[in-house]
């Protein structure tokens, strides 16, 4: 039965680097990371195992708890607003408007900026003594307030604003591509049926571009889980620790605070959370409908 021996060997070989990356880099790192989380390592890895101590400490650290809470707020708002805004923008761009290319570029260009730059520029814009607040007050509206990054309660929303600014364009592009894929005859059918456009978007188009929505959520999700740069550049986690996120928690404890065991405990918790969300989805997506692999 080994007819295509060489060809298949070639295909298998070509995937070896990917396997190597998976096993050595990903799996290896993950196992290492989990193992470290059970030790008392500080700046450097050690083999002094302490069981679940780090996890206990982690969940009694208020900064971690605040980070988790913030992650939920930030994650949900960021993803939802990006989706809604991205969808609205895509819908607007799909209305045979003038200057479509121009608008699309304007909405998309922030995605070329790193989160660091995004944070930097928005920090400046939202700085109450320099930015928008000051400019508006200079115009005569003395009581105008836009001091989110200085406020414990609002700083997290400042992150959302900057994040949305950076990422909504990508969602817009994905959605636009989805909209462009909708059968033109379907649109005609709804016009004959006399269904108002907004209704069509909600009831018919939205379900149709589900794949694009899923992709958007995945990409945004990756951004949320990894979000570190944005916080550092925009609020530094402050005021106090009002806008801390788990990604920054991990980074801080890895480097400045030199407790890699705690940091790895934190990233293990993140990992497990991601796994819990992702595995069922991956399963649905790629295993249930049998992938196409002929030959």
């Amino acid at each position: 039965m080994k007819r295509k021996f060489w060809q298949n060997i070639m295909a298998t070989l070509s995937l070896l680097p990917a396997w190597a990356v998976l096993l050595v880099a990903y799996t290896g790192s993950m196992i290492w990371s989990i193992q470290i989380s059970f030790t008392s390592s500080r700046a450097l890895p050690s083999n002094n195992f302490v069981g679940f101590d780090q996890y206990r400490r982690l969940f009694s650290t208020s900064r971690w708890l605040v980070s988790l809470e913030n992650l939920v707020i930030f994650g949900v708002l960021f993803v939802v607003i990006c989706l809604v805004l991205g969808f609205l923008l895509a819908v607007a761009l799909d209305q045979r408007i003038r200057f479509e290319n121009g608008f699309r570029t304007i909405f998309l260009y922030p995605h070329a900026m790193s989160f660091i730059v995004t944070g930097l520029i928005w920090q400046w814009m939202m700085n109450p003594t320099l930015g928008i607040q000051k400019s508006v007050r200079d115009l005569g509206w003395e009581s105008f307030a836009f001091d989110w990054i200085g406020s414990r309660d609002l700083a997290i929303y400042a992150l959302v604003v900057a994040g949305v600014w950076q990422a909504a364009g990508l969602v817009m592009v994905l959605m636009l591509a989805g909209l462009r894929g909708v059968d033109a005859e379907l649109w005609k059918a709804t016009r004959v049926d006399g269904i108002p456009a907004w209704r069509v978007y909600i009831s018919i188009v939205l379900p149709l571009i589900k794949p694009m929505i899923v992709t958007s959520v995945v990409l945004l999700g990756i951004g949320v889980v990894k979000s570190y740069d944005l916080v550092v550049a925009l609020t530094g986690g402050g005021p106090g620790m009002a806008s801390e996120l788990p990604g920054k928690f991990v980074m801080d404890y890895l480097f400045e605070r030199q407790n890699i065991a705690l940091a790895q405990a934190a990233s293990t918790v993140m990992l497990i959370t991601v796994l819990a969300v992702l595995v069922p989805w991956l399963y649905m997506q790629y295993f249930r409908k049998s992938g196409r692999s002929p030959t």
């Binding site: 990917a18 880099a25 998309l108 260009y109 889980v225 980074m251």
Partner: protein
């Protein structure tokens, strides 16, 4: 505009023909249309404002910036900050601006983009057209890998790349970028190839082409739309990377973002906003250019089946 008249060919119509609906619908700016443009323009302002502020600030002298009117047009236009940012801003004892980093970034970018896309394309190809054992598992695991925070990898990867003898070199950082780029690139190409007709592959098999020849001669040349998407994503991601470049590239090869960080985050006296902004814009220039030049292909590429759930 429903003009009801008995029959179209009755004599009465001729008389009242003036009021008959005929020809192109009179085009009126409806409320909806106005609202649409209002929304678009508002959104455009939101997205443009930061860029506008950055640009204006970079063109102002410092005393104008101190006045605080960030939205105002510069009274005296100066490109000094740009020159300074490019060629003379200091990091520690070195005052060469970010121009050095620019070339480092290019040196890192080109091979990294190339290899990560090559790896993704090859993986996607092998997974979609060849029956390789465990391909689905591999793919799912890779995808999951995309969610792992970089930080988790840092120590093990340092040790690995040191073992390989590529630590602190361009080769090292290229390998690291390839590793981190692999999941998303594989996803892109796998989905794209899944949308190509399988007959293309079969025809090539019958023509006697083997694994590599099908890849290079048949599949890659058909992949232009998705390659464009991949290039845009990777150029943005790799160019904007700071952490990996800092740790893996070595002192000689540090990318532009490291220098940007040095300039922007060095705390000394008053912050030189114009220089910071100029440096920021300069640093973002390459990915920005990439978006401006190939933005329309980006949408098409994605529409071509690049990204599906």
């Amino acid at each position: 505009m429903n003009v009801s008249v008995s029959a179209p060919n009755s004599a009465t119509i001729a008389a009242s023909a003036v009021q008959l609906a005929r020809g192109r619908k009179p085009h009126r700016l409806t409320a909806g249309r106005i609202g649409l443009y209002a929304f678009l323009i508002t959104a455009a302002i939101f997205f443009l404002l930061p860029a506008y502020v950055m640009l204006m600030t970079s063109l102002k002298p410092m005393d104008e910036i101190r006045d605080g009117a960030i939205f105002a047009f510069p009274r005296t236009l100066t490109f000094e900050a740009w020159w300074a940012a490019w060629s003379s801003a200091c990091t520690g004892l070195n005052c060469n601006g970010i121009s050095v980093g620019f070339w480092n970034s290019i040196k890192i970018l080109v091979p990294s983009v190339f290899f990560s896309i090559a790896a993704g394309a090859l993986n996607g190809y092998a997974m979609s057209f060849w029956r390789v054992k465990g391909a689905n598992l591999l793919f799912a695991a890779l995808l999951f890998g995309a969610f792992i925070p970089y930080q988790v990898f840092m120590y093990p990867l340092v040790i690995m790349s040191a073992t390989l003898g590529v630590y602190n070199s361009i080769a090292g950082i290229v390998i690291v970028h390839t590793i981190f780029g692999m999941p998303l690139m594989t996803l892109l190409f796998r989905n794209y190839y899944a949308g190509l007709p399988i007959e293309l592959f079969k025809a090539a098999r019958i023509d006697g082409a083997g694994f590599w020849r099908i890849f290079f001669w048949v599949m890659l040349p058909t992949s232009t739309p998705i390659i464009i998407v991949a290039v845009i994503l990777q150029v943005t991601g790799i160019w904007n990377d700071f952490m990996l470049g800092l740790i893996f590239a070595g002192r000689e090869n540090q990318p532009m973002t490291v220098q940007l960080n040095n300039i922007v985050n060095s705390v000394t006296g008053e912050r030189v906003y114009n220089l910071n902004m100029a440096a920021t814009i300069l640093t973002a220039a390459v990915p920005l250019l990439c978006y401006f030049l190939s933005g329309r292909w980006f949408v098409r590429g994605i529409a071509a089946g690049a990204i599906k759930g």
